[in-house]
């Protein structure tokens, strides 16, 4: 299949305002591929969420911070979302986006055994950004993210899932593909190439 034609079609007429990237098993490597490739002039906020044990938090922010051209921050409660910044969800707390486009944290019980849950972030982001949101779901071993991607799609946002054949663990992408019929299913390298195109009007 011709990826370029599919990408051009999926992006036609869109104005993306924010980007949410979710992943689980294998997600650290995937993020380390995607985030450092973003140019310093990238103008969208990028919110990244992985299922990580609580003690890994600072290391990922550091690791990404060293390699990324953009500032990398841990998303803090009530923090207004700023363009051109990469945010990471804090382990141990659910992360939501409020209607006024600020973050909020919560200690509610895990969803799909995960806290933070990708569904919680994606569903609230879809409410806040509507068709201005792009959701990207990467490698992972559970079912988190499928409902969130479905909500993004329902609200008119762009949905992109990593090609299961290309993912370290295919379960999460497969489940999301079945549930939301994403606009694009791409290998990681192509997703990396897609990101700079998202900010073009």
């Amino acid at each position: 299949m011709n990826h370029h034609a599919a990408v051009a079609q999926a992006l036609a007429g869109r104005r993306i305002e924010a980007l949410v990237i979710g992943g689980s098993a294998g997600g650290v490597d995937a993020l380390l591929t995607l985030v450092p490739a973003l140019p310093a002039c990238f103008s969208l906020p990028v919110v990244c969420i992985l299922h990580l044990p609580a003690d890994r938090e600072s290391r990922l922010a550091q690791l990404l911070g060293y390699r990324a051209a953009l500032p990398v921050r841990e998303a803090a409660d009530k923090q207004p979302i700023v363009a051109g910044t990469v945010y990471l969800a804090t382990p141990g707390y659910h992360l939501s986006v409020e209607r006024d486009r600020s973050f909020s944290l919560s200690c509610e019980p895990p969803v799909h055994f995960a806290r933070p849950a990708i569904d919680v972030l994606m569903e609230s982001s879809a409410d806040a950004y509507g068709d201005g949101l792009a959701g990207i779901l990467l490698t992972g071993a559970n079912h988190d993210g499928a409902a969130g991607m479905e909500r993004i799609r329902q609200c008119g946002g762009l949905t992109v899932v990593q090609d299961p054949r290309d993912a370290q663990v295919p379960v999460m992408p497969q489940h999301a593909i079945r549930r939301c019929a994403p606009h694009l299913v791409l290998p990681l390298a192509e997703i990396g190439a897609l990101l700079p195109l998202l900010e073009k009007p």
Binding site: D77, K78, P109, V120, C155, G156
Partner: protein, 277 residues
């Protein structure tokens, strides 16, 4: 079309919170919207309502339905000695100041089912302060307050709590503080002899006492900025000169209008001190 649907749910949610406020005097209008929406949707599923308006209809006409909804609108996820470094910080950085007062008033705001209260009283007892303390433990959820008064927690949680307690600088056998029976751990009643459990709303009630130390952990994350400001205002008013404030380990006052009315005592531990006037 979908966008209109989303807005419709928002309208219904606002109407529900307004109705709950007017009828039951519980004010959830300034709670953070995203997680509140999730909880109401969960309540709708549980209570067999297909729309928020249908839920409102039930809540308005059946007081029992409101009690049920209240359990969703409040969040009672908590544990003993949660974030042990916070309690370690209290031991090392706050207790030395507290020891200089002949009598103390401590407020555990939003105490939920009481795990934080028992953690605090254990710490105060070990530091030799419990006898001179008056502790206010407040919450808006009567079921949670009742559980807090009972002080019976699931026995299965004790392994985690014991670990937390040890990391929090506890040096005794944690099991000395409770009696195990029938799958529950009943905590020593002497721990809460000086505790007043009371119904108090951070959203609608006022300051009731001067205090030396306020602990309010993982409560304000469920509030929007306006309500957070109100609550920080209450705490500022309640705290004595240079009083202490403890928050949850990911909470911040940076985005509040009270940011410069408190100073960091320990940044990581989220311990603050009221700035002198």
């Amino acid at each position: 079309m979908k966008k209109i649907c989303q807005n419709q749910v928002d309208i219904e949610l606002r109407m529900l919170m307004e109705a709950v406020y007017l009828k039951y005097n519980y004010d959830f209008r300034d709670y953070a919207g995203a997680s509140q929406k999730r909880r109401v949707l969960a309540a709708m599923r549980e209570m067999d309502c297909t729309t928020v308006s249908a839920l409102q209809e039930r809540v308005m006409h059946e007081p029992g339905a409101f009690d049920q909804l209240l359990q969703y609108l409040t969040i009672s996820v908590t544990e003993m000695f949660r974030d042990p470094e916070f309690y370690l910080g209290v031991r090392h950085l706050v207790v030395p100041f507290l020891k200089t007062y002949p009598s103390l008033k401590i407020w555990v705001a939003g105490c939920s089912t009481g795990e934080e209260v028992y953690s605090m009283t254990i710490l105060l007892k070990e530091e030799g302060l419990l006898e001179r303390c008056l502790i206010y433990a407040t919450d808006i959820n009567p079921e949670s307050l009742e559980a807090a008064r009972r002080g019976v927690f699931a026995l299965g949680r004790m392994r985690l709590y014991t670990e937390n307690y040890q990391k929090a600088g506890g040096s005794r056998a944690f099991s000395d503080y409770y009696t195990a029976a029938y799958g529950g751990a009943l905590f020593d009643r002497a721990l809460v002899r000086n505790v007043t459990f009371a119904d108090h709303s951070l959203a609608t009630d006022n300051v009731f006492s001067e205090t030396h130390f306020i602990s309010c952990r993982n409560v304000m994350i469920y509030f929007n900025r306006r309500l957070q400001d109100r609550v920080l205002g209450l705490f500022h008013e309640s705290l004595c000169h240079r009083g202490f404030l403890g928050l949850g380990s990911k909470e911040s006052i940076d985005f509040s209008s009270y940011a410069n009315r408190f100073e960091h005592l320990a940044k990581r531990e989220r311990l603050f001190r009221k700035v002198g006037s």
